[in-house]
Subunit: 130 residues, 2 copies
Protein backbone atom coordinates (compact mmCIF):
# COMPACT_ATOMS: atom_id res chain seq x y z
CA UNK A 1 0.00 0.00 0.00
CA UNK A 2 1.38 3.39 -0.93
CA UNK A 3 1.94 5.73 2.01
CA UNK A 4 0.18 9.03 1.48
CA UNK A 5 2.50 12.03 1.63
CA UNK A 6 2.09 14.57 4.43
CA UNK A 7 0.08 17.63 3.42
CA UNK A 8 3.07 19.97 3.78
CA UNK A 9 5.04 17.74 1.43
CA UNK A 10 2.22 17.70 -1.12
CA UNK A 11 1.96 21.50 -0.98
CA UNK A 12 5.73 21.96 -1.15
CA UNK A 13 6.19 19.64 -4.10
CA UNK A 14 3.21 21.18 -5.87
CA UNK A 15 4.72 24.63 -5.47
CA UNK A 16 8.10 23.49 -6.81
CA UNK A 17 6.47 21.85 -9.83
CA UNK A 18 4.40 24.95 -10.64
CA UNK A 19 7.32 27.34 -10.03
CA UNK A 20 9.67 25.70 -12.52
CA UNK A 21 6.85 25.05 -15.00
CA UNK A 22 6.11 28.78 -15.12
CA UNK A 23 9.83 29.61 -15.12
CA UNK A 24 10.41 27.46 -18.20
CA UNK A 25 7.63 29.03 -20.28
CA UNK A 26 8.35 31.90 -22.65
CA UNK A 27 6.47 34.35 -20.39
CA UNK A 28 7.89 34.47 -16.87
CA UNK A 29 5.71 37.39 -15.72
CA UNK A 30 3.27 35.00 -14.01
CA UNK A 31 5.97 33.97 -11.51
CA UNK A 32 5.24 37.07 -9.45
CA UNK A 33 1.87 35.59 -8.45
CA UNK A 34 3.63 32.81 -6.57
CA UNK A 35 5.23 35.33 -4.17
CA UNK A 36 3.66 37.18 -1.24
CA UNK A 37 3.41 41.00 -1.64
CA UNK A 38 6.36 41.56 0.74
CA UNK A 39 8.48 38.57 -0.29
CA UNK A 40 12.28 38.63 -0.34
CA UNK A 41 14.44 37.12 -3.08
CA UNK A 42 18.24 36.86 -2.93
CA UNK A 43 19.36 36.10 -6.49
CA UNK A 44 23.07 35.36 -6.75
CA UNK A 45 23.71 37.61 -3.75
CA UNK A 46 21.49 40.54 -4.84
CA UNK A 47 18.35 41.26 -2.79
CA UNK A 48 14.94 42.04 -4.35
CA UNK A 49 12.15 43.10 -1.98
CA UNK A 50 8.46 42.75 -2.80
CA UNK A 51 6.50 40.86 -5.42
CA UNK A 52 6.89 43.55 -8.10
CA UNK A 53 10.67 43.81 -7.78
CA UNK A 54 10.98 40.02 -7.80
CA UNK A 55 8.70 39.57 -10.82
CA UNK A 56 10.64 42.29 -12.65
CA UNK A 57 13.98 40.61 -11.92
CA UNK A 58 12.81 37.17 -13.02
CA UNK A 59 11.12 38.47 -16.17
CA UNK A 60 14.23 40.41 -17.20
CA UNK A 61 16.79 37.59 -16.91
CA UNK A 62 18.88 37.76 -20.10
CA UNK A 63 18.10 34.55 -21.94
CA UNK A 64 15.46 33.25 -24.32
CA UNK A 65 15.05 29.62 -23.33
CA UNK A 66 15.60 27.96 -19.97
CA UNK A 67 14.95 24.41 -18.81
CA UNK A 68 15.15 23.28 -15.17
CA UNK A 69 15.58 19.69 -14.04
CA UNK A 70 15.15 18.93 -10.34
CA UNK A 71 17.66 16.52 -8.80
CA UNK A 72 16.39 16.55 -5.21
CA UNK A 73 13.74 18.44 -3.23
CA UNK A 74 13.43 18.29 0.56
CA UNK A 75 10.39 19.77 2.36
CA UNK A 76 9.80 20.37 6.08
CA UNK A 77 7.02 21.98 8.15
CA UNK A 78 8.17 24.84 10.44
CA UNK A 79 6.99 25.85 13.95
CA UNK A 80 5.11 28.82 12.41
CA UNK A 81 3.15 26.55 10.06
CA UNK A 82 5.27 27.48 7.07
CA UNK A 83 6.85 25.07 4.58
CA UNK A 84 10.62 25.05 4.16
CA UNK A 85 11.95 23.67 0.84
CA UNK A 86 15.45 23.06 -0.53
CA UNK A 87 15.77 22.25 -4.22
CA UNK A 88 18.93 21.20 -6.01
CA UNK A 89 18.91 20.75 -9.72
CA UNK A 90 20.36 21.54 -13.09
CA UNK A 91 19.42 24.16 -15.65
CA UNK A 92 20.20 24.82 -19.29
CA UNK A 93 20.07 28.35 -20.69
CA UNK A 94 19.95 28.87 -24.47
CA UNK A 95 23.00 27.09 -25.93
CA UNK A 96 25.12 27.25 -22.74
CA UNK A 97 26.40 24.12 -20.98
CA UNK A 98 24.19 22.62 -18.25
CA UNK A 99 24.80 24.20 -14.82
CA UNK A 100 23.88 23.08 -11.30
CA UNK A 101 21.76 25.34 -9.09
CA UNK A 102 20.43 25.47 -5.51
CA UNK A 103 17.25 27.25 -4.47
CA UNK A 104 15.40 27.45 -1.17
CA UNK A 105 11.83 28.61 -0.57
CA UNK A 106 9.75 29.41 2.49
CA UNK A 107 5.99 29.17 1.88
CA UNK A 108 3.35 30.73 4.13
CA UNK A 109 -0.43 30.49 4.14
CA UNK A 110 -1.78 34.05 3.97
CA UNK A 111 -5.10 35.47 2.80
CA UNK A 112 -6.41 32.03 1.90
CA UNK A 113 -3.51 30.84 -0.24
CA UNK A 114 0.07 29.59 -0.04
CA UNK A 115 2.73 31.94 -1.34
CA UNK A 116 6.50 32.26 -1.18
CA UNK A 117 7.80 34.76 1.40
CA UNK A 118 11.53 33.93 1.12
CA UNK A 119 13.62 32.67 -1.79
CA UNK A 120 17.39 32.28 -2.21
CA UNK A 121 18.95 31.21 -5.52
CA UNK A 122 22.58 30.39 -6.35
CA UNK A 123 24.22 28.76 -9.33
CA UNK A 124 26.53 25.88 -8.44
CA UNK A 125 29.36 27.43 -10.46
CA UNK A 126 30.63 29.05 -7.27
CA UNK A 127 31.11 25.71 -5.61
CA UNK A 128 33.16 23.42 -7.83
CA UNK A 129 36.14 21.96 -5.91
CA UNK A 130 39.43 22.95 -7.58
Amino acid sequence: MAVQKEIWQQIGEGFVQEYYRQFDTTDRTGLGNLYSPTACLTWEGSIFLGREAIAGKLASLPFKVIQHRITEQDCQPTPDSCIFIMVIGQLKVDQDPIMGFHQVFLLKHQDGAWSCTNDVFRLAIHNIPA
Copy 2:
Protein backbone atom coordinates in the same frame (compact mmCIF):
# COMPACT_ATOMS: atom_id res chain seq x y z
CA MET B 1 32.25 54.48 5.90
CA ALA B 2 31.48 50.81 6.41
CA VAL B 3 27.77 49.99 6.36
CA GLN B 4 26.76 48.09 9.48
CA LYS B 5 25.13 44.76 8.74
CA GLU B 6 21.50 44.22 9.62
CA ILE B 7 20.96 42.44 12.94
CA TRP B 8 19.43 39.35 11.26
CA GLN B 9 22.51 39.08 9.07
CA GLN B 10 24.84 39.36 12.06
CA ILE B 11 22.89 36.66 13.91
CA GLY B 12 22.71 34.41 10.85
CA GLU B 13 26.40 34.68 10.07
CA GLY B 14 27.30 34.18 13.73
CA PHE B 15 25.23 30.99 13.82
CA VAL B 16 26.87 29.65 10.66
CA GLN B 17 30.35 30.38 12.00
CA GLU B 18 29.62 28.66 15.33
CA TYR B 19 27.85 25.70 13.69
CA TYR B 20 30.77 24.72 11.44
CA ARG B 21 33.33 25.53 14.15
CA GLN B 22 31.64 22.99 16.45
CA PHE B 23 31.15 20.54 13.57
CA ASP B 24 34.86 20.58 12.75
CA THR B 25 35.99 19.82 16.31
CA THR B 26 36.68 16.25 17.45
CA ASP B 27 33.57 16.28 19.69
CA ARG B 28 30.37 17.04 17.74
CA THR B 29 28.01 16.35 20.67
CA GLY B 30 27.74 20.10 21.39
CA LEU B 31 25.98 20.65 18.07
CA GLY B 32 22.68 19.55 19.60
CA ASN B 33 22.63 22.74 21.70
CA LEU B 34 22.27 24.81 18.54
CA TYR B 35 18.91 23.16 17.74
CA SER B 36 15.51 23.79 19.31
CA PRO B 37 14.01 20.84 21.26
CA THR B 38 11.57 20.03 18.42
CA ALA B 39 13.87 20.83 15.49
CA CYS B 40 13.77 18.93 12.19
CA LEU B 41 16.85 17.84 10.21
CA THR B 42 16.74 16.27 6.75
CA TRP B 43 20.19 14.75 6.21
CA GLU B 44 20.67 13.39 2.69
CA GLY B 45 16.94 12.70 2.46
CA SER B 46 16.52 11.06 5.91
CA ILE B 47 14.48 12.94 8.53
CA PHE B 48 15.56 13.30 12.20
CA LEU B 49 13.04 14.87 14.59
CA GLY B 50 14.04 16.56 17.85
CA ARG B 51 17.32 17.80 19.30
CA GLU B 52 18.34 14.42 20.68
CA ALA B 53 17.84 12.52 17.44
CA ILE B 54 19.68 15.25 15.52
CA ALA B 55 22.60 15.39 17.96
CA GLY B 56 22.85 11.60 17.82
CA LYS B 57 22.93 11.56 14.03
CA LEU B 58 25.57 14.27 13.77
CA ALA B 59 27.75 12.73 16.50
CA SER B 60 27.63 9.31 14.83
CA LEU B 61 28.66 10.34 11.31
CA PRO B 62 31.31 7.82 10.22
CA PHE B 63 34.50 9.85 9.89
CA LYS B 64 37.28 11.07 12.15
CA VAL B 65 38.17 14.46 10.72
CA ILE B 66 36.01 16.92 8.80
CA GLN B 67 36.73 20.43 7.58
CA HIS B 68 34.07 22.78 6.15
CA ARG B 69 34.82 25.78 3.97
CA ILE B 70 31.95 28.18 3.23
CA THR B 71 31.69 29.45 -0.33
CA GLU B 72 28.57 31.62 0.03
CA GLN B 73 26.02 32.31 2.75
CA ASP B 74 22.78 34.23 2.16
CA CYS B 75 20.58 35.36 5.08
CA GLN B 76 17.04 36.80 5.06
CA PRO B 77 14.53 37.81 7.75
CA THR B 78 11.12 36.07 7.51
CA PRO B 79 7.59 37.40 8.24
CA ASP B 80 7.55 35.38 11.51
CA SER B 81 10.77 37.04 12.73
CA CYS B 82 12.88 34.01 11.93
CA ILE B 83 16.16 34.00 10.01
CA PHE B 84 16.45 32.01 6.79
CA ILE B 85 19.98 30.98 5.74
CA MET B 86 21.38 29.16 2.70
CA VAL B 87 24.99 28.01 2.85
CA ILE B 88 26.95 26.52 -0.01
CA GLY B 89 30.43 25.26 0.60
CA GLN B 90 32.96 22.49 0.39
CA LEU B 91 33.97 19.83 2.88
CA LYS B 92 36.80 17.37 3.25
CA VAL B 93 36.33 14.15 5.21
CA ASP B 94 39.41 12.18 6.35
CA GLN B 95 41.46 11.43 3.20
CA ASP B 96 38.52 11.66 0.75
CA PRO B 97 38.44 14.17 -2.13
CA ILE B 98 36.85 17.57 -1.42
CA MET B 99 33.05 17.57 -1.98
CA GLY B 100 30.56 20.40 -2.40
CA PHE B 101 27.59 20.66 -0.03
CA HIS B 102 24.43 22.75 0.44
CA GLN B 103 22.74 23.38 3.78
CA VAL B 104 19.81 25.57 4.79
CA PHE B 105 18.81 26.66 8.29
CA LEU B 106 15.82 28.38 9.80
CA LEU B 107 16.56 30.12 13.12
CA LYS B 108 13.91 31.18 15.62
CA HIS B 109 14.13 33.19 18.83
CA GLN B 110 12.58 31.08 21.59
CA ASP B 111 13.02 31.09 25.38
CA GLY B 112 15.53 33.92 25.22
CA ALA B 113 17.89 32.50 22.62
CA TRP B 114 18.22 31.83 18.91
CA SER B 115 18.15 28.19 17.86
CA CYS B 116 17.74 26.19 14.67
CA THR B 117 14.25 24.79 14.05
CA ASN B 118 14.79 23.49 10.50
CA ASP B 119 17.89 22.18 8.73
CA VAL B 120 18.33 20.48 5.35
CA PHE B 121 21.71 19.09 4.23
CA ARG B 122 22.73 17.60 0.88
CA LEU B 123 26.06 16.76 -0.66
CA ALA B 124 26.61 18.24 -4.11
CA ILE B 125 27.58 14.82 -5.50
CA HIS B 126 23.96 14.34 -6.58
CA ASN B 127 24.09 17.36 -8.80
CA ILE B 128 27.08 17.16 -11.14
CA PRO B 129 26.01 17.67 -14.79
CA ALA B 130 26.93 14.63 -16.91
